[in-house]
């Protein structure tokens, strides 16, 4: 198959390792601090925005592909990248448009699939 031949196996390996390391950082935060998972998600996304904003994160993405974009750091970096790109196109207004525009697909998918799942799935009954 042409597709299998087009896969960059070294990139897959780098993706696996970098993605894994980012998750280890999260795991250490869970085990060593008493942060709730909501706070950890917020920390990751905000850190991603900062790293994306100062332009470091794009080197991680170049190196590891989805190993960098799939973790929430990448979600944050994408927000920042979107804001910066849109500012270049339409000035200050772009700061308010760009972030959400760039990550609209993910946010909308989560809301839509969440709603569909809630229609289909039954809530688990909590044992008291």
């Amino acid at each position: 198959m042409d597709f299998l031949q087009s896969i960059d196996w070294m990139l897959l390996l780098r993706c696996f390792i970098v993605g894994g390391i980012i998750c280890i950082i999260g795991q250490i935060l869970i085990d060593k601090t008493k942060l709730t998972s909501a706070r950890i998600l917020v920390i990751f996304v905000t850190t991603g925005v900062v790293l994306g904003g100062i332009g470091i994160y794009k080197y991680v993405i170049d190196f590891a592909g989805c190993g960098a974009t799939v973790p929430l750091l990448g979600f944050g970096a994408n927000l920042a990248k979107g804001a910066i790109t849109e500012v270049q196109n339409s000035g200050l207004l772009g700061a308010f448009i760009g972030g959400v525009k760039a990550s609209a697909g993910g946010i909308t998918a989560a809301i839509f699939f969440g709603y569909i799942a809630s229609l289909i799935a039954k809530p688990k009954i909590k044992k008291q």
Binding site: C23, G53, G67, G82, A83, L92, G105, F113, G114, P123
Partner: protein, 147 residues
């Protein structure tokens, strides 16, 4: 068994029951599950690129597909089990964000579709979006002055 009444007693009980937090094992599980989720994303990305989509579109497709899978697994109650095993391995990738939306949506279904599903959906994802988007606006404003 002694009855647990205060929060502190509960904490002591928990500490007693889980004496040595197996942090190395947790990190190992988080590493390979998290890495695997990213690798699945990369394979989807490569496939989209192979089909001739541009990079931004590919990233968006990866996010949507992974979120869709995570939503489905959450609905089937499989994601919980993966989460217990992998910890941050399934929380930190975009699947964790999806799970944080889908899980309360299902949980609070009994409170109605508007305030239950619609409202509680954002218990965890709300703060993520508030801080993420606000930070991106700040980045955009700073960028305006630098461009």
């Amino acid at each position: 068994m002694k009855k647990i009444e205060t929060k502190q007693e509960y904490q002591e009980y928990v500490d007693k029951k889980s004496p040595n937090s197996p942090i190395l094992k947790n990190c190992f599980n988080a590493f390979w599950v998290g890495g695997l989720i990213c690798t699945i994303g990369q394979i989807i990305f490569d496939f989209c690129e192979y089909k001739g989509f541009d990079e931004t579109t590919c990233s968006t497709i990866v996010s949507i597909v992974l979120i869709g899978i995570a939503a489905m697994l959450t609905g089937l109650n499989i994601f919980n089990k993966i989460g217990k095993f992998a910890g941050a391995g399934s929380l930190v990738p975009i699947t964790g964000f999806a799970n944080s939306i889908v899980s309360p949506a299902i949980e609070y279904k009994s409170e109605g579709y508007v305030m239950g599903v619609g409202g509680k959906m954002f218990t965890v994802a709300g703060p993520v979006l508030v801080f993420g988007i606000s930070a991106s606006v700040l980045v955009g404003i700073i960028a305006t002055f630098l461009v």
